[in-house]
Symmetry: C2
Subunit: 339 residues, 2 copies
């Protein structure tokens, strides 16, 4: 028994000066042996299912990496888990709303179980995320303020995303605001919460939050780019999914500014006329219009602006530059330039 305990504690102490891979492995290891509640099984089975589907675990890794700037123990795990549980709750409910059948190559929760279980298990995940934060009595109010504010913004972002599908007057600033809320603020909150737990100054917390917020926007713009101009083999999914769903991404909205009158009319017709079916030739036509508009260059430039903003906030964090290597590399790997 004693030997096992020593071994565990050695494993735990070794997460000093982390690489991304180490943090990811550490989180995945802890996650794979984590005991969720058991009963009622109908409620917690879907929780185990979605949490077991995998994924890059970006948000908890960001939280752990931010914590690691200030302290090198493992006490941030439950906060990292809270962020990941919350993120998976949003995926679970979003999949119902989007009528998505597949998530990470497996049936979504409402398909694998049923819709009622998906709603209720999602609800309990949100509460469970809150409960995980009770492990930090000293920082509790501060963590909760960040967490609740962010959780509400994520809902607001999802609402704006659903509404944008119904509207034909969305602007680029609406779109950027939407992706900021739907995607970026949770990355930002993960970093800030890690910093809070690490005992960072208010200024550092703010810089890490802004690093995450700008990183998230750059990441989403890249995601839009890859979805249209990426390579299916590299991406591991079909190209043109956004176009097929007539999603009003940055590419669409900016192309409407860049194209000539006739081309704009045609692009709008394809996106806004619900009678027009998005078959492959229609997808190719849109992609061709995007290419002609040179929107790709604009998107890459915009991505770079947010990327540089993110890095400038990381640079302003008042810890030894070497310690920031993990977060810098994480940003680089997320904003991989092989688009």
């Amino acid at each position: 028994m004693v030997i096992i305990q020593v071994w565990i504690s050695f494993e735990i102490d070794s997460i000093e000066m982390q690489t991304i891979q180490k943090l990811q492995d550490y989180f995945r290891d802890k996650l794979s042996t984590y005991d969720y509640p058991e009963q009622p099984a109908a409620l917690y089975e879907p929780v185990r299912y979605i949490m077991g589907l995998g994924g890059k675990r970006i948000r908890p890794v960001l939280l752990l990496a931010a914590y690691d700037l200030y302290k090198s123990d493992t006490s941030a795990f439950k906060a990292a888990l809270a962020i990941e549980v919350f993120h998976n709750f949003t995926l679970l409910h979003d999949d119902i709303m989007d009528e998505a059948d597949i998530r990470r190559g497996k049936p979504t929760v409402h398909v694998h179980y049923d819709q009622n279980k998906a709603i209720l298990s999602g609800d309990v995940m949100m509460i469970y995320a809150y409960q995980l934060l009770e492990s930090y009595p000293k920082e509790f109010l501060s963590l909760m303020k960040t967490f609740s504010q962010t959780a509400r913004e994520v809902c607001e972002g999802q609402s704006m995303d659903m509404e944008a599908e119904q509207r034909d007057d969305a602007s680029i600033s609406d779109y950027l605001n939407m992706i900021e809320l739907k995607t970026s603020v949770l990355l930002a909150a993960a970093l800030k919460m890690g910093a809070t737990l690490g005992g960072a100054s208010a200024a550092d917390q703010k810089h890490l939050y802004e690093f995450g917020r700008n990183l998230g926007i750059a990441f989403q713009i890249q995601d839009d780019l890859l979805d249209t101009f990426g390579t299916a083999e590299l991406l591991g999914k079909k190209i043109g999914g956004d176009i097929e769903q007539k999603k009003k991404t940055y590419l669409y909205l900016k192309a409407l500014e860049l194209l000539g009158e006739l081309q704009i009319a045609r692009l709008k017709e394809i996106f806004l006329d619900s009678k027009i079916e998005m078959d492959q030739s229609r997808i190719d036509e849109v992609k061709d219009l995007f290419t002609k508009s040179h929107v790709k260059v604009h998107a890459e430039e915009l991505k770079l602006v947010y990327q540089q903003l993110a890095l400038s906030h990381l640079a302003a964090v008042s810890v030894n530059d070497e310690k920031k290597t993990t977060l810098r590399r994480l940003a680089e790997s997320l904003l991989n330039r092989k688009v």
Copy 2:
């Protein structure tokens, strides 16, 4: 300006030594002028809609009445609102799961708006309830522990309720456990949170929690009784709704213990054979079987046991007996014996 402030402060101070009606009016007044967030409208409109549907506001009144045992100011309002927002979130999501069309005489949220809005607005209500508790930094961790634990139990109760519909081996103790989680713990938590905010001792908090928990179980048993043996005019709704939905209430489960073999077989057949439609003659047949089993007396006795347990916990609360009048009357009015 000064005069208006004096008037407001007079109004506010007058909620000392409350009657139920005064507490209810106070809560309703504050609620009717409460500013929920505005944007995005698609997200917060359904929140305003369901919160405006009315209802007895039992849970916030319990919280205010418990607070009032210890302090006589109005600072517990936001906690009372948190409980009511959370309760309405559960109604909103339960209505989707139960495919209910009508709530308090009005279309349910997923009917009035759509299902996606109902899911997402419910989600944001839960988060909003948590945020309301941020107004109490001193008691925050304690309030949150009660609140999250209870919220999870309510989900567990709803899960057990949905599962019971699929099963044919539910026991009376399963049923009591289910209604405790689905209904009682939130009443209990409201009382405990009011006591926490009032600065009650741990013992008092516990007694008030137990008062609410037992009160809630008695209330639910009475609800089952009224649904089958009540008077439509007094109740303001159709009698026999539970039977029509083949709900495995205490009446059904206990009748299976009390009836003769042939009658049990018939009752089970009606409830478990999905081919049997519940028309009026079938509802009357079940009601007749319930009457023959004398289950009503058993239910009334069981209700009385929980009612007495509740009152004994209230008696044990260490405040002046006169101060407890409101809660005693509230219990009496909830457990009105005109069944």
